[in-house]
């Protein structure tokens, strides 16, 4: 039996903080991103292909959870020394785009509890402001998968982690999952919370003057729910 005990199949680009992990950058993954980036892509295709990426992201995010040794007996009577999952988890999505990742999360983790946070820009102060949070009561005892598809400036993600910390979740028990991240956003976020792991599908070039990720894919929530 071969068990290379690598906790994850991901890689961290050298230029990035050690808490950032990307999916293996295969041609297949690039092709998936090409479909969801294309503005001509229909909503149906956008849903299907973004779900495929989200599933891969969640699978990789879960690899950062701890496991304990566990021995089981197989139907043929053989013994297998495996591992058991350890620790309770929950998802927290940042409304509205983060909700789009919930289906993918539940495909991998059945009936997982999902909290929701609404963060919007306060037009007076131009700061991210918490408008609403509904979280599982025992969230302090759980690992949290924080869901937001796009990491642009990092403003709302930073605010979300702040909210989670206020609810008693330690920084290192939060795993932030997104599809596309900007280098600026990663720098901001990891500078603020170096212990929170960030799982991202693809790191793009930069932000433009309107704080959109370039090349990006536009407004994820808009494309997922509205267009």
């Amino acid at each position: 039996m071969v068990v290379s005990n690598s906790p994850t199949s991901q890689s961290t680009p050298a230029s990035l903080p050690p808490s950032v992990f990307t999916l293996p950058q295969t041609a297949q993954l690039e092709a998936l991103f090409t479909i969801i980036r294309d503005k001509e892509t229909s909503r149906g295709d956008f849903l299907f292909y973004s779900d495929r990426i989200i599933r891969l992201l969640v699978e990789e995010g879960l690899n950062h959870l701890p496991v304990i040794p566990k021995t089981v007996t197989t139907p043929t009577g053989a013994t297998y020394e495996g591992v058991g999952f350890e620790g309770k988890i929950c998802g927290v999505s940042i409304l509205r785009a983060g909700e789009a990742m919930e289906a993918g999360l539940r495909e991998v983790c059945r009936s997982v509890r999902i909290g929701k946070i609404l963060i919007q820009r306060d037009e007076e102060t131009a700061q991210a402001k918490l408008f609403y949070a509904k979280l599982p009561q025992d969230i302090a005892q759980r690992y949290v998968l924080l869901l937001d598809p796009m990491l642009a400036t990092g403003g709302s993600a930073i605010k979300a982690v702040e909210v989670l910390k206020e609810h008693g979740v330690p920084e290192d028990r939060i795993i932030f999952i997104n599809l596309i991240a900007s280098p600026e956003g990663l720098k901001n976020f990891c500078g603020k919370y170096p212990l929170t792991r960030v799982i991202t599908g693809w790191i793009d070039q930069c932000l433009n003057e309107k704080a959109y990720i370039i090349p990006g894919l536009g407004d994820f929530g808009e494309r997922r729910y509205c267009v």
Binding site: D38, R52, P215
Partner: protein, 555 residues
């Protein structure tokens, strides 16, 4: 079988006039018939044309290196119209007894596509259907050559009511005996080269005419005058000029009636030829299968095209749940689906991509990639390939899924192909050559089913490097070695490599069940020892393995 053979034919003159029922059956058929031994004898007297007939599954037709051994045995039967060719063909099929796979190919399928002028003539009964030019001989020969070489063929369908070749075709594959019948079956030199045995059915002209009148008035509502006119204008001259002369090419001339003895001789000859071949095959195949059963480790081997998923924590955790005999069916299904989805994602990485630039909604250009394949499909090896289907569908939503049912024969343990349903893109050779196929099976133990399935795809023209075998567990010491030696370019993606492959009774749960918490914790595959021994079947077990994956997923 001789009891159903001998009655009827010898005596009554009235019966000489009778063309066996359904001498010219409708030509389009979609089902192939699996015949139970014992029940097949009667049935084969009405054996359909252009349909693969089989009395049991198709045994292996390839040696341990994966090469096909020998072509199909081809019999050509010519003779005048209503001389009883079809009858002879069916009697041969019937007297072969327990047969592998046979197809009776009719010359009628190969009438040319008619021009509008010819069509008018045909409806006025003025078209010469008995002339060699009416038959598309090159197509006939190429279809037969394909079938003989074990490739698939899509033969044309000719409609007698429309007097025209139809647009659809009939897919045929996998016959080990091919019987070609038609008045001009021995006429074309290209066709003649393909026959292993050439038969001419010799019948008196007056008897043939009498049968023809009898048949056409009864079955086609024709008038005797019309029949006679057609006979004198076309049928008789064609017989004298083109059909009768080909009798000199025949290896054996069979009388059109009272031919029981001749048919028995032919059947004996064919049976011997077939047996020679299968004896050789058995010897070769005995060498397939696990020989070195020392527990293996993938690190000792050199399998460039075998990919194991990275053994991440989640993967190990999933495998622990799947291997655990106390896992409930609900959990087993959920985690199998999750694993198969992930396996499919990994397997898709083998598909080639090409560059593609797109514009994003923010107006930026993205130099990306897109899949560069013509056709992609899945084929699952039933039943255990089924649990991998949902995963593949989650990755390619509308993927075409074919299936093969391959079971081992109880006594010899050799694999039998019982059922084959392939996606359209593989049925046609020119598309198969550009198709990528995900072949699904839960595990590779002895590899016998995988071996046969890959051979089927190769027969259809799918290139080795376009076959991606997706499986949950590979036994390191099992058939995977033979597979990779015979088909070095086929790629295999699996979740785990297990060290042990051993033979055991078809019995899983030899240990006392764990405390039943709600009475349903017992593994669903559990069988008592008595049950297993009564079944008397030995199976190869992968260990530690997951038990019988198909049973645990479905039962």
């Amino acid at each position: 079988m001789s009891d159903s053979l001998g009655t009827g034919e010898q005596h009554a003159p009235a019966e000489l006039l009778e063309i066996p029922a359904g001498a010219r059956p409708p030509l389009s058929r979609t089902v192939s018939n699996t015949l139970r031994p014992g029940a097949h004898s009667e049935f084969l007297l009405q054996a359909k044309k252009n349909t693969i007939l089989k009395s049991h599954g198709r045994p292996p037709w390839y040696d341990e290196d994966g090469h096909s051994v020998g072509d199909a045995f081809v019999i050509g039967i010519a003779g005048g119209s209503a001389s009883g060719k079809t009858h002879v063909a069916r009697r041969i099929v019937q007297s072969l007894g327990s047969i592998p796979t046979v197809v009776i190919l009719s010359q009628d399928s190969f009438y040319r596509r008619h021009s509008p002028e010819d069509l008018e003539l045909a409806f006025a009964n003025r078209y010469d259907f008995d002339h060699p030019d009416a038959i598309d001989m090159p197509l006939f020969a190429s279809c037969l050559a394909d079938l003989k070489a074990g490739r698939q063929s899509n033969i044309p369908i000719y409609s007698f009511t429309e007097h025209q070749r139809l647009d659809e075709t009939k897919y045929l594959y996998g016959a080990s005996i091919i019987i070609v019948e038609g008045i001009l079956a021995l006429h074309d030199p290209a066709l003649r080269k393909l026959y292993d045995l050439k038969i001419f059915v010799q019948c008196d002209s007056d008897l043939m005419l009498a049968r023809r009148i009898s048949r056409d008035t009864k079955e086609r509502g024709r008038s005797v005058d019309g029949i006679l006119e057609q006979y004198l204008r076309f049928v008789k001259p064609a017989y004298d000029n083109f059909v009768q002369p080909t009798s000199r090419f025949a290896n054996i001339i069979v009388p059109g009636s009272d031919n029981t003895v001749a048919i028995e001789l032919i059947a004996t000859h064919v049976r011997r030829k077939i047996e020679d071949r299968s004896r050789y095959l058995r010897k070769s195949l005995a060498r397939i299968g696990p020989r070195d059963l020392s527990p293996g480790d993938i690190k000792d081997q050199h399998f460039p095209n075998l990919t194991v998923l990275p053994q991440t924590r989640q993967l190990q955790g999933i495998f622990t749940i799947l291997r655990d005999r106390t896992t409930t069916r609900e959990d087993f299904i959920f985690f199998t689906d999750r694993l198969s989805t992930f396996l499919s994602e990994k397997a898709l990485e083998y598909l080639p991509c090409a560059k593609k630039d797109v514009t994003t909604p923010v107006g930026a250009t993205y130099a990306g990639k897109q899949l560069a394949v013509d056709h992609v499909c899945g084929v699952s090896i039933l039943r255990s390939g089924g649990p991998l289907e949902r995963g593949l569908r989650r990755v390619i939503q509308d993927i075409r899924m074919g299936s093969m049912l391959i079971q081992s024969e109880d006594k010899t343990g050799e694999p039998l192909l019982l059922h084959l349903m392939l996606p359209c893109c593989i049925r046609e050779r020119h598309r198969a050559e550009k198709s990528f196929v995900f072949l699904l099976d839960a595990q590779i133990g002895t590899g016998a089913a995988a071996f046969m399935a890959i051979r089927v795809l190769l027969d259809h023209g799918v290139p080795q490097e376009n076959i991606i075998f997706v499986t949950i567990i590979v036994a390191a010491c099992g058939g995977v070695r033979v597979l990779q030696r015979a088909f070095p370019k086929v790629r295999i993606t699996c979740g785990a490599i297990d060290p042990v492959l051993r033979e055991s009774w078809a019995l899983w749960d030899t240990l006392p069940s764990p405390e039943p918490a709600d009475g349903d914790v017992r593994s669903p595959t559990a069988k008592t020892k008595a049950e297993a021994e009564a079944e008397g079947r030995k199976v190869w077990v992968v260990e530690p393995g997951m038990g019988h994956i198909g049973d645990r997923y479905y039962l």
